[in-house]
């Protein structure tokens, strides 16, 4: 399994230039630059057979020791035929938080990317319907960012109180 995986990453490096590869506890991770993301993903899906997009998520490295960029997007891929997994990372920094959408390749990325937009504010270029999914439409902040407090900024108290005499 690792030979195939190495070949996948070798094929990536051959096609798209060198990129940092690391391994931790059996997970293979590869860091991709933002502008090459769509090519890399098309290669992985088309030729290397990574047909299952397991997850799309984001980490806000604001308070992380030794962090180089603020946001790290994580794409977890799996190959259902050979059971290999691969983690693709893209680092983003403010102010340019836009990245290509994976919806043309994997339709399951639709809601996953909407959630990343809702929680972190990352814009996905080419997404058919990028709007908030979990928070109310009128919510302004991005809750999972590290500068948003756990208890919120009072939005949860901001409703009308009904008493017996009114209702």
């Amino acid at each position: 399994m690792s030979a195939d995986n190495m070949t996948a990453i070798d094929a990536l490096k051959a096609r798209c230039g060198d990129m940092p590869v690391s391994e931790f506890r059996g997970d293979r991770r590869v860091v991709v630059a933002k502008d090459k993301l769509l090519d890399v993903m098309s290669l992985l899906k088309g030729e290397r057979g990574f047909d299952l997009l397991v997850d799309v998520t984001c980490v806000d490295y604001l308070n992380y020791r030794d962090a180089t960029s603020r946001f790290g997007l994580v794409y977890l891929l799996a190959n259902t035929a050979t059971n290999e997994r691969l983690t693709v990372r893209v680092y983003l920094d403010e102010p340019d938080l836009t990245v290509a959408s994976m919806v043309p390749l994997w339709a399951g990325a639709n809601w996953l990317e909407r959630e990343v937009f809702d929680m972190f504010g990352i814009q996905f270029d080419g997404h058919p319907d990028l709007r908030r999914i979990l928070m109310p439409e009128e919510f302004v902040a991005f809750p999972l960012r590290k500068d948003y407090p756990l208890q919120g900024r009072g939005e949860r108290h901001n409703f009308q109180r009904l008493t017996r005499s009114e209702a």
Binding site: F24, D55, Y64, G108
Partner: protein
Amino acid sequence: MSIAEPIAESSVARESDYVWTLNFGPQHPATHTTLRIVLKLDGERVIDAVPDIGYLHSGFEKTGEHLNYNQYVTITDRMNYISPVANGVAWHAAVEKLLDIEITPRCKYLRTIVAELARISDHLLCTGAMGLDTGAFTFFLYAFYQREVIYDIFETISGQRFHPSMTRVGGLAYDFTPLVIEKIRTFVKNFPQTLDDMERLLNRNRIFVDRTKGVGLLSKERATNMSATGPIARASGVTRDLRKDEPYLAYADFDFQVCCSKVGDCFARYYVRMAEMRESLKIVAQAIENIPAGPINVGIDERMTLPTKSQVYQTIEGTITHFELVMWNRGFVVPSEETYAAIEAPNGELGFYVVGDGSDVAYRARTRPPSFIHFSLFPELIRGHTLSDVVAVLGSLNIIAAELDR
């Protein structure tokens, strides 16, 4: 023409007076708790369905950044609340992978048993709710009675009917007493009879079969493209099951089969779940007779699990470990790295992406929620079917709102 056949696009009047909008939920008996679907209907035919979720968003992932690895298992239990222990098993699988701990054989067996009991509990509720929504109330009551037996087992182990919060980093909080093993043996003996009764009620029931056969078809390629996993993907022909493909815990020791179907409609999803319950029962029956003896927690040298009181008072290692874990400015030693681990939860692939930062509180605790991903399948499954098929399809997708919204 049977009612379940979807009609061709050209025969639907696009801007006719008959197109109307129906708001389904968020408070409705057939939505599995709080989710909302805005249906565009032509008479009774669904032209489009736009899901609107977030009505139970409770900030689970943000809470995970403020609770330590052992406290967070109380929150993960409340995610997929109909198979709560499976979430805890998945969370600690991810944390133990991050910390590179190998749990003891006995702990692996016990976690396997509770995870399979949770799977039976989940499938009972899913099929029971599907029966209830399509009108079979007796089926629902049979399923719930068996769930009470499983709750009784969990209560004997941990004191809580569900949300036992049983797993800890490096082990379990509660061991199995002989009474628990007795109760599980009784359950294994009596459950097949109930499964047979339940199957006799619905498998060849004309009404149920007509309501679910041919409804909500999902093809194999579309299932994988939409990231579906678990019984929903298996009912469409995808043979992926993490218990066999990437064996974790003690699954490699047991003899069981992966249940799949090629059809991909609601009836197939129901049938795959009923078959999976039998396979889970086989696993529990094999596991309960072969539990290895030994400790349930890893050794105290690892500085991860709380030692017993006799170890604390009588060995220096126990005292040191107790001090390291209990004093507020100490705790686990966690590498500043990120990892992902998944298990085959009853609903699909449930994984946690954990980012450690050296302290004993996770920096990011992301859940890969199967219900969220499966609900995005809903619009294409329901297009062209009638309003009454909405409940059948929704029931077969097993959407748990707490996992959907986190």
